[in-house]
């Protein structure tokens, strides 16, 4: 995940770009004629200071390499936020980012 987190005027703004194919399960492999199985992020969460500040739940209608922008009150420069996503096949990715 690429993450940009900025603290300004008491608010931390976060922008995330996750790398994921977000396969809908409806595309057909042109060579084999078979459907490419669905593989998509179902949930992406952000925590700060032990508290969940954001939860995104996705279906297959979210773009490939999902992009998210959100903001929460508080935060502090130099501290970190923890992002985590899990997909429908059980894959997980975790990233920590420093608030700038």
């Amino acid at each position: 995940m690429k993450v940009k987190a900025k603290f300004k005027n008491d608010i931390t703004s976060v922008r995330v770009l996750a790398k994921h194919p977000m396969e809908t399960g409806r595309r057909v492999n042109k060579e084999t004629g078979e459907k490419i199985p669905a593989k998509y992020i179902q949930e992406l969460t952000c925590e700060y200071d032990g508290k969940v500040v954001f939860v995104a739940q996705f279906g297959t209608s979210v773009s490939q390499n999902p992009y998210l922008a959100f903001a929460f009150e508080g935060g502090k420069k130099g501290e970190s936020i923890q992002l985590r996503w899990n997909d429908n096949t059980g894959d997980i990715e975790k990233t920590d980012a420093t608030i700038k």
């Binding site: 996705f58 209608s61 979210v62 992009y67 998210l68 903001a71």
Partner: protein, 152 residues
């Protein structure tokens, strides 16, 4: 590695708390709303997600989405509001195979202002539904999707 007993015990505590935290549901909204996401009609998605299909059209829901999508596979969408006590912000695309596109939970202290990029299978209506104070407020806009002409 030389590590003081106190530090080691601290780490153990933090570690086990973290593990415990991971094992328990993160929040009250933890379960992925499979019934809602798998619904093929917007009304069923609303019912499965909210338990209701009563949407109140409101200008307090600020939905920003293009009129003509540059790329149907990545349409930027933003939803925000100045309403208080927002529980969740939800995006639906009427004619998509799965109309429920995304559901964002807004814990207290989080700003009800989100942006993301979504897929539109064809020209359709994008609806933002904000759940606040137990009610559902909505705003819709049509987005045209083209395959592209000479510039394509």
């Amino acid at each position: 590695m030389d590590i003081s007993r106190r530090k080691f015990l601290n780490l153990l505590t933090i570690g086990s708390t973290a593990c415990f935290a991971l094992m328990t549901p993160l929040t009250a909204w933890a379960a992925w709303a499979s019934d809602a996401f798998n619904a093929t009609k917007p009304e069923d998605a609303y019912k499965n997600l909210f338990g209701s299909t009563e949407l109140i059209e409101s200008d307090q829901v600020k939905l920003k989405v293009p009129k003509i999508a540059e790329n149907g596979g990545a349409v930027p969408v933003s939803v925000k509001t100045s309403m208080k006590n927002v529980d969740s912000i939800n995006i639906f695309v009427k004619d998509n195979p799965q109309p429920l596109t995304a559901s964002f939970k807004i814990p207290s202290g989080t700003i009800p202002d989100i942006s993301t990029r979504i897929r539109l299978a064809q020209t359709s209506t994008v609806t933002a539904v904000i759940k606040a104070d137990g009610k559902l407020f909505s705003k819709s806009q049509e987005v045209k999707v083209t395959i592209g002409g000479c510039g394509g």
